[in-house]
């Protein structure tokens, strides 16, 4: 995970989730004498400024080279996943990602490239952008009922993929896609492209990307196209929406998450309290998927122990494939490619709550519901 650099904050929330699950499993003694030892690897380098695929590949080799490593939780980003998957596959080491959503990784079309070992090793406790984008397009069409949309991305792998998937489904649902452009995340001024959007009289805007470009996009779209509907993916479901982009600009933006929204669920209140007490920060939904990912790994290890087979990475992988557990987010199982069987995309809307702390995601946004599935 990129524990340093631009995405460090989110990465730490995710890391904590997995660590918590391991800690609980060890203290409960459910693994009968076996103590799980977490090995934390950072794949960010300063040169990349964020995750670095080369470092991710090195880390993957570190994992497969260590016979005591039975399963991996991560990576956070799909770009790292692409570099890691072939290596993990050859060693038959399962990785369970709580947040990387690029469809290609588990797409059977690319199986020869990402899973040369033949068996799926890339499991996810989130659904993919193949659903996150299109489900949001369904939401635009069915719930928001917008006739037209202008689609932007931030030039990154994640943003481009998400925006493309959104645009394709939007067309299917009869929304007019009036334009498709790309923002340079390093540039400051998006007024030109926003003026262009204004000129098209688009009824809505969809943005695929992360916060680096979103901070500026949110601020400037508030100035230039204040009245149209605006939304994005999980990349903008971030406290920076309030702390950096700020209200009133962020007000009304929709954002999605590729997992069910359960942090607010009363049933999880004690878990949330435990998490905040242990790490001093509020968890987000990806802290939960990460916790679930670790639960999957733990359940698989338990299953191998129970079956009496030797505790190897390969046996654990086989067990992960057939895992059926109840995670924090609900029932978890995987299809034959490693994707989560349930495909829930949650939709949120940012709404200022002056009484709550500005960085509190949970209080500064409202949960709208699950986006319609196709």
């Amino acid at each position: 995970m990129p524990l340093t650099g631009a995405d460090a904050e989110a990465a730490h929330l995710i890391l904590n989730g997995a660590l918590l699950a391991i800690k609980l499993a060890n203290s409960s003694g459910e693994l009968k004498g076996i103590t799980l030892e977490p090995m934390v690897l950072n794949n960010a380098t300063a040169t990349a400024g964020q995750y670095d695929p080369a470092q991710a590949a090195t880390n993957a080799r570190k994992l497969v080279g260590d016979k005591k490593v039975l399963a991996n939780v991560g990576p956070e980003m799909s770009g790292s996943g692409k570099a890691m998957a072939p290596i993990l596959s050859m060693a038959d080491l399962a990785t369970i990602t709580p947040s990387s959503t690029a469809p290609a990784l588990t797409d059977p079309q690319f199986a020869g490239e990402f899973v040369p070992g033949g068996k799926p090793i890339y499991f996810r406790t989130v659904t993919t952008d193949a659903y996150q984008g299109p489900n949001m397009a369904n939401f635009y069409a069915e719930t928001l009922k917008v006739p037209s949309v202008y689609v932007l991305d931030d030039s990154g792998a994640y943003g481009v993929g998400l925006a493309d998937a959104f645009a394709a489904q939007a067309k299917v649902k009869g929304i007019k896609v009036l334009g498709r452009d790309r923002l340079d995340p390093k540039a400051a001024d998006y007024s030109a492209v926003l003026t262009k959007i204004k000129a098209t009289n688009a009824a809505s805007l969809y943005y695929g990307g992360t916060m680096q470009a979103a901070v500026k996009l949110v601020k400037q779209s508030y100035q230039i196209v204040p009245d149209i509907k605006k939304g994005g993916g999980d990349g903008i479901l971030s406290p920076e929406m309030m702390t950096a982009a700020g209200f009133p600009a962020a007000e009304g933006w929709y954002a999605t998450n590729a997992s069910p929204h359960v942090v607010d669920d009363p049933k999880l209140a004690s878990w949330v309290a435990l998490y905040s007490k242990t790490y001093g920060v509020q968890p987000d939904d990806y802290a939960i998927t990460s916790y679930d990912a670790a639960l999957v790994a733990i359940a698989a290890i338990k299953a191998v122990i129970k079956s009496g087979k030797p505790l190897t990475a390969s046996n654990v992988r086989n067990a992960v494939q057939t895992v059926k557990i109840n995670g924090l987010q609900g029932p978890i199982s995987f299809d034959k490619y490693g994707d989560l069987s349930t495909r829930v995309v949650a939709v949120f809307q940012f709404k200022q709550n002056k009484a709550a702390p500005l960085a509190d995601m949970d209080k500064q946004s409202i949960y709208i519901g699950v986006a319609p599935q196709s």
């Binding site: 631009a6 452009d181 540039a187 492209v193 680096q212 601020k219 920076e240 950096a244 700020g246």
Partner: protein, 309 residues
Amino acid sequence: MTGSAIFLQQIINGVSLGAVYALLALGFTLVYGILELINFAHFSVFMVGAFVALVVLEAFGLQGQSVVMHGAPLVLVLLVALVVTMVASGALGVAIERYTLRPMRNVKGPMAMITTIGVSYILFNLVLLATNAQAINFPDPMPQASYHVGGVVIRLKEILIWIVSAVLMIGLNLFVKRTKLGKAMRAVAQDAEAARMMGVDVDNVVMIAFFAGSALAGAAGMIFGLYYNFAQYSIGYTAGLRAFTAAVLGGIGNVPGAMLGGIVIGLIETLGSQYIAARWADVIIFSILIGTLVFRPAGLLGMLAPNRS
């Protein structure tokens, strides 16, 4: 919006953007004119300037979009912030010159340029570490007033940018043209050795050039912050590179050229985004940079100093 309204709106966007580039380009041009040095640290001085302004404005109790001021108090607060920012940025520029560039002045080749890259990296990464790489919300104390003229929207902020930039640019131009120091500066740019023999204190002139250029960069940083309402460690690089393109396009070393170049680059960026695509704007700008250097190295307005070899 009608076609002509869109065009006019993009012109307005481009001029505002260009004003920031122009202020930044002036610093490059001053230093290059005198030392023939491309100062990459200038990128970071601009960025630091934005953060200085942020700190000053927050010291006045302005947080994000929460406080809106009017009239004289607003002008006063902005003026104080501008002066503090310019002095602090100017001092930073002078310190960079004194401690890292003066020892390199007579070293041949790309060594001095490499030093400025190093300085730029240090400042950039210090801010990155201090802010955790996050974008910071910049205070926005100005009323959200705007004027509608035939489908075109002009915001109060934009008018403010134009006025401040124009005052600073005209001021610099007068300084270089009319004052004794300005004349000494031009003399050093023409021929440092001859100027020295005529009794000009070259070190002093270089210091003044760094102070003036860096102060303008700081002002540009503050204007940037007010206009875009955020500050981040990474703002220096993109804006700096475009400002440099502006300086080259106008004729590096040429003060009015830098202003013209800044506006032209701003217009190219917005009109390019409108009529081609935002994704190609950078390619267009850098192609102009390369094309200018290859086909017309003296730029639009020609170089201030004749080519010395």
